[in-house]
């Protein structure tokens, strides 16, 4: 009897939070080991200096792209019915960028000097630009999510003044959407260019990477936002969605995927025409070598083609379970793409001996510590979003009407 009662008393949500908390705690210990012992505990080497963490960092930023896209749609294009989706996306964006910052803190050799990135400028460096954009955009996201946090019941009761001010930031939404669009376009593509400007790595050295990074973020960001919205609505009564609105976003993702497949196809095909030392070997690694499963199955088949079909065929899209699978596959596909890009340029290196420039192969499998700390960061993200759904109502499409009313005078003032 007692056992049954205890089982009923522990709500599934508590179990879920407990599980995420555990993964986070293990990740925190792993992270602490990294800080104390240094990056020697990773499997990174001088030949493969960027690994799993960089993939998580890049993926978290890509997955946050829903925020700027939907805010631009709502506040700049005037598609007001997407406003509640933009709300969800903005919160996910804030969490995603904070995940990226956490991962970078793990990854840099001197985390105590993280502030150097803001103070010492080399304006010629792509990473300088990315750092500036990410920092400024994180500020924008904090302002954009201030109204969400302002509605926390506890805050409203204890500090009604603070709460009112935070909710009031909502009036800045159109300006913030514009700044967010500008900053996001810059750094989402610059992350691709970070790789794309490196002449020493032929598979990366091409302008397409910035376009593809931008494009895949446009696909992956909204996919995660819709996935979280639909999952939340399915799992808890605290979330409430308007399926028609979400379906519109899914159709957008479907068409965006078609465009992405086209660019990806053209980009890969164009590299097959001539032999180029290093680049050809990397491409072979993607299409036939150790990365081939990731490439063909993870990125292309499961990551793009199948979800595009599901999201664009109305009959398939309306089968309850399929959109969930499709959106999860899109997210997985973008992560696979980030991993493949990062690895393809590092698993193949070019020698610099004068007689023959030939390709040599390197090896990298993340260490346990890298996996655990990475999982901890992902768990932090999932936990934050879960709590957001539960306590901040970040997935609540019933709030639409009043919010749109509230923005009207701003639109007038902005004109």
């Amino acid at each position: 009897m007692m056992a049954i009662r205890a089982r009923i008393l522990v709500k599934p949500f508590t179990l879920w939070i407990g599980f995420l908390g555990l993964v986070m705690a293990i990740g925190a210990i792993a992270g602490l080991i990294v800080f104390v012992k240094g990056l020697g505990v990773t499997n990174l080497t001088d030949l493969v200096p960027w690994g799993l963490w960089i993939t998580i960092d890049l993926s978290a930023i890509a997955m946050s792209a829903g925020a700027f896209l939907l805010c631009a749609a709502v506040y700049l294009l005037g598609l007001k019915r997407f406003q509640p989706v933009a709300r969800t996306a903005t919160f996910i964006g804030l969490i995603g960028y904070s995940m990226a910052v956490l991962t970078l803190l793990l990854d840099i050799g001197r985390p105590d000097r993280f502030w150097h990135a803001l103070v010492y400028w080399n304006t010629h460096s792509l990473l300088w630009e990315v750092t500036m954009c990410v920092t400024l955009y994180l500020t924008v996201l904090l302002l954009e999510t201030a109204p969400i946090f302002g509605k926390l019941p506890w805050l409203q009761q204890r500090f009604p003044g603070v709460s009112r001010r935070m909710i009031g930031v909502h009036h800045l939404a159109p300006y913030l959407a514009l700044i967010g669009l500008f900053l996001s376009m810059l750094h989402q593509s610059s992350l691709g260019a970070t790789y794309g400007v490196l002449k020493a790595r032929p598979i990366w050295y091409r302008p397409d990477l910035s376009v593809l990074f931008m494009y895949s973020a446009i696909v992956g960001g909204p996919a995660l936002t819709v996935l979280v919205s639909k999952l939340a609505a399915r799992l808890t009564s605290r979330a409430n969605v308007n399926d028609d609105v979400l379906e519109r976003v899914m159709i957008f993702i479907g068409w965006a995927l078609v465009g992405y497949i086209y660019f990806r196809f053209w980009d890969s095909l164009s590299m097959t025409y001539t032999y180029e030392p290093g680049r050809t070997e990397s491409l072979r690694m993607l299409t036939k070598g150790v990365l081939s499963f990731n490439f063909w199955v993870g990125e292309i088949l499961l990551g793009a083609v199948i979800p595009a079909i599901i999201l664009l065929v109305p009959r398939l899209r309306r089968i309850t379970i399929l959109p969930f699978i499709a959106l999860a596959l899109v997210v997985g596909g973008v992560v696979a793409y980030r991993w493949d890009v990062n690895m393809a340029g590092q698993l193949v290196l070019l020698t610099y001996l004068p007689q023959e420039i030939e390709a040599i192969y390197t090896h990298y499998v993340p260490s346990l510590i890298e996996f655990l700390s990475g999982a901890g960061i992902v768990a932090y993200g999932v936990l934050a979003v879960s709590l957001g759904v539960y306590h901040l109502g970040i997935v609540d499409h019933r709030q639409v009407e009043e919010e749109v009313e509230a923005t009207l005078p701003v639109a007038a003032a902005a004109d």
């Binding site: 020697g40 001197r110 150097h116 010492y120 302002l143 300006y175 001996l353 004068p354």
Partner: protein
């Protein structure tokens, strides 16, 4: 409930704060970035592959003088095939590129190029992001994955440390022994001629396969060698313009 004036004022506040922040950062930059200017010198190294016997003394001398960890080589000696039946070697210091990819990509400006052509590392600025390692086509950079503590096995046999040991978590590389050059010039010595003002690897080479000197001085050993010999640079196709030149081990050189 909504007062348009209030929010416009709020917006202006945010804008003012933002521009003050950007302005502040600008000031910091202006005071920190002052390494422009010109130099009468243009340092370069010439490595004669026909002379190099692959003994690795240069690597060891470098380890001692620069206090480099045994896990790291600023100055690797690679096997580079055969000419006739003689093995050919390729010693590889930092190339000190004129258009150095590492300097271009470093987000904090920890990698920078001096007017005299030496590509420097500011170990106090480096945050250890390793972008420079990824960007360098020559594998010339090494990250301090572990702290180098304890005695240096190359000391004292191969020399005494002349520079501070680098901490864990930063990237390091060959510096053309800038400290020997700078101190030597102060003492009125000529780098490349006087041993105390010349990079340790050049001094340690038992077969004089390495030359060092000023390309702006037509009488310097490097200028003379480049004027009278065929030479090449590594990965010239990349347009990095290395300041390390190689004299190839041709057939005539071995006979």
């Amino acid at each position: 409930m909504d007062k348009p004036n209030m929010k416009r004022r709020d917006f202006l506040k945010v804008a003012a704060l933002g521009s003050a922040l950007v302005g502040g950062l600008r000031l910091v930059r202006l005071t920190s970035a002052s390494e422009t200017g010109s130099s009468p010198h243009k340092w370069a190294m010439v490595i004669d592959q026909s002379k190099c016997i692959g003994c690795g003394y240069c690597t060891l001398a470098c380890r001692a003088h620069n206090d480099v960890s045994p896990d790291i080589s600023w100055n690797r000696v690679l096997e580079a095939g055969n000419v006739g039946d003689k093995k050919v070697f390729l010693p590889r210091p930092c190339m000190h590129c004129e258009h150095a990819p590492c300097v271009e990509v470093c987000m904090v400006g920890a990698s920078y190029r001096r007017p005299d052509g030496i590509v420097m590392m500011d170990y106090d600025k480096c945050i250890g992001c390793r972008y420079c390692e990824i960007a360098c086509p020559y594998g010339g950079r090494a990250f301090n994955w572990e702290a180098f503590s304890g005695p240096n096995p190359a000391v004292p046999e191969w020399g005494q440390p002349e520079v501070e040991r680098r901490p864990r978590g930063v990237v390091e590389k060959c510096s053309f022994c800038y400290h020997r050059i700078d101190r030597g010039l102060e003492l009125g010595l000529v780098p490349g001629v006087d041993e105390a003002a010349t990079p340790a690897c050049v001094v340690a080479c038992p077969v004089q396969a390495r030359l060092f000197g000023d390309l702006n001085d037509p009488d310097s050993a490097v200028s003379q060698a480049l004027a009278s010999h065929a030479y090449f640079q590594l990965r010239e196709d990349l347009g990095t313009s290395p300041r390390v030149f190689y004299l190839p081990a041709g057939e005539e050189a071995t006979t």
